[in-house]
């Protein structure tokens, strides 16, 4: 039988749009024909993590978490709910941002599951952040004269959450493309509320490292940064705050190039998807040399 790709995402009981990026990226990958089946699965929606594998015909499955950071969900919840036998986070041999993959058996279906690290800590995620900056400014060469803020939760919920943000901020800084790159957080210093204090550049692109738009990216962050007093009234892109033009990008996970990161994760685990990767990069505007490293 063919191989299948199963994407594991959070989903929501309250927000109908939470699943949209997952569906979109799954559709992009489905269209490449790289996998016999592509299946979305959710913690809060259906098919649930518990029952996704049994809906898939393939004996061999690449399981890619559409999550930003490594930690609670990727190391405990997903392996437990998918019933991956003998899972141990050590198998990823990760320092918090360097997860690889592990091949395990699913207890209830006997399928072979290549359990991959989350999209959020894959190196190619840096490209998606940059591409998000290009999308929101409408400038494929954005960088000169611009600062870039990568925004995340902070450590309150998960110690690795901040690590993923810093990891990509560091990588993008090393490329010398933006005048300044800074990681900012919602619940710890440096706080996103003070975005203007952390940059000298007149223009600042703000990219939240979240999978889907929702409460945090659409309400909290825009209000915290002072783009608007009330998220319901909306805000301009850019909006001038304390003399800086803030280009607020919304969740990075909605960027079409995210589909590429899902494929990269599967490719790292042995899936033969190189032509699909090329196709997706071309379609989603990520055709340039990917990472340079």
């Amino acid at each position: 039988m063919d191989e299948a790709l199963v994407i594991a995402a959070h989903g929501s009981h309250l927000n109908a749009e939470s699943s949209t990026p997952t569906y979109d990226h799954a559709d992009t990958i489905r269209a490449t024909g790289a996998f016999g089946e592509v299946r979305e699965s959710f913690w809060k929606e259906e098919p649930s993590f518990r029952e996704a594998l049994r809906t898939v015909d393939a004996e061999e499955v690449y399981l890619v978490p559409l999550f930003i950071s490594e930690g609670y969900f990727t190391e405990q919840v997903i392996p437990r709910e998918f019933r991956l036998e003998d899972w141990d986070p050590e198998l990823w041999d990760s320092d918090g941002t360097s997860a690889t993959n592990a091949t395990l058996a699913a207890e209830d279906t006997d399928q072979t599951v290549h359990y991959c690290g989350p999209v959020g800590t894959h190196d190619s995620m840096s490209d998606v952040i940059v591409q998000r900056a290009e999308s929101v400014t409408g400038d494929p060469d954005v960088g000169d004269g611009f600062g870039l803020a990568v925004v995340g939760h902070g450590t309150e919920r998960n110690e690795n959450s901040a690590k993923a943000i810093q990891y990509h901020a560091d990588r993008i800084r090393e490329r010398d493309r933006f005048d300044e790159v800074q990681s900012l957080f919602m619940d710890e210093d440096p706080e996103v509320d003070d975005v203007a204090d952390y940059f000298e550049s007149d223009d600042i692109v703000v990219v939240p490292l979240f999978i889907a738009d929702g409460f945090h990216t659409q309400e909290d962050i825009p209000e915290d940064m002072g783009l608007t007093d009330d998220y319901r009234t909306g805000y301009d892109v850019p909006t001038t705050v304390e003399g800086h033009d803030i280009w607020y990008a919304g969740a990075v996970g909605t960027e079409p190039l995210m589909a590429d990161v899902v494929l990269e994760r599967a490719a790292d685990a042995g899936a033969d998807v190189s032509s699909a990767i090329e196709q997706v990069r071309e379609e989603t505007g990520g055709a340039k040399p990917a990472t340079g490293d």
Partner: protein
């Protein structure tokens, strides 16, 4: 396309075929070909091809082995739909000519035979008799994901098997593979679990197993179970899993030995463990039920007591919005509720002026 099934038959004959009233074999004296209508033996390949070409039994065999999805549960589901275990091929083909329908949750499923090919369709069961031209038609099975997201009023449906599927759409012409994909997009994993149950292999995880597995913010639910009591789980099941709320038939119980005291429902497909909505609800109830009850004193007229009950009933049954504006005979009517609030609440919103914290 025509003849493909004949080539396949000739290629498979040496292995022998015995399926749905069709028997074919290749022996030293030639081929045998038997159906309820004909009985040939010792025929050569050319004759075999001729008889096979016009036999519905061959088309039927080919469909089930080359066209229908081969995954055991999808295959069994398609067989179930056309009543393959109850009817022989001749009867089935007669019935299929007019179309054979079944209900799956709120879905109305139909398979029809035209020009010897099966075609499948899906629509809301409330639209079973509506002309297709009056419905929004779709041909991409994955459109079902979007349709399933919202109810007729535009409200988000977090539970796919809630009986609130929107109406007004149809997938009028699907292949067998597209058809099962569509059903699975509306009701994920129901085909797989239905099949497991039929095979006696449904892996039910009862309340206790499921709650014990929880960690993080849901770990607290473990503390809700104390001693031998499981009345609280009855309440959960009555609140969430009743057929009026969810079309899955609840098969999970308190634990392996202890059945719950409420009915699991009569759905076609089973529920094998408490879902994420139930666990999220249980987390909140665990917190709320940790409070000790207190005695409050209010004065209500008998009609006011009944009105409070009517309001709770209307909300619990999702009927509050259906009560007409001027129907002041209903306790849960908006004006009636506003009158009660005006009379009984103090400025802080305390019922009967009695503070919550005493």
């Amino acid at each position: 396309m025509d003849g493909e099934y004949v080539d396949a038959l000739v290629a498979t004959a040496p292995d022998g075929i015995a399926f749905d009233d069709l028997h074919v074999a290749h022996e030293s004296d030639g081929y045998t070909f038997q159906t309820p209508d004909v009985d040939h033996s010792g025929i050569d390949e050319e004759t075999l091809r001729t008889v096979a070409a016009e036999s519905p039994y061959v088309r039927n065999w080919y469909f089930w082995h080359a066209t229908a999805p081969q995954k055991a549960d999808r295959w069994a589901f398609l067989r179930w739909l056309e009543g393959a275990e109850q009817r022989d091929v001749a009867e089935r083909y007669d019935a299929l000519a007019d179309g054979v329908s079944a209900t799956w949750g709120e879905l109305h499923l139909t398979v029809t035979l035209s020009d010897g090919e099966r075609a499948y369709s899906v629509r809301h069961r409330a639209d079973a008799d509506v002309g297709t031209s009056a419905l929004d038609t779709h041909d991409d099975p994955l459109d079902a994901r979007e349709i399933a997201k919202h109810d007729d009023d535009g409200g988000y449906r977090p539970l796919k098997t809630a009986p609130s599927l929107q109406t007004g759409w149809a997938f009028p012409a699907l292949s067998a593979g597209e058809f099962v994909t569509t059903v699975d997009a509306f009701y994920p994993a129901t085909i797989a679990n239905w099949h497991r149950e039929r095979e006696g292999e449904l892996d039910v995880n009862h309340w206790r197993d499921t709650v014990d597995r929880q960690t993080g913010i849901y770990g607290v639910v473990k503390t809700w179970d104390r001693g031998d009591g499981y009345e609280h789980v009855n309440w959960v099941a009555e609140a969430c899993c009743d057929d009026s709320q969810c079309l899955k038939r609840r098969e999970w119980q308190y634990d392996e030995e202890t059945d719950l005291g409420v009915d699991g429902g009569s759905g076609e497909f089973p529920c094998r463990e408490p879902c994420s909505l139930v666990i999220a609800g249980a987390r909140q109830w665990t917190k709320l039920e940790g409070e000790t009850s207190q005695t409050y004193e209010f004065e209500l007229t008998p009609s006011e007591k009944e009105q409070v009950e009517a309001i709770i009933d209307a909300v619990a049954d999702g009927e509050a919005e259906d009560i007409r504006e001027a129907d002041i005979y209903e306790g849960a009517n908006r004006y009636r509720a506003r009158f009660l609030r005006a009379k009984l609440f103090d400025d802080e919103g305390n019922l009967g002026g009695v503070e919550t914290e005493q």
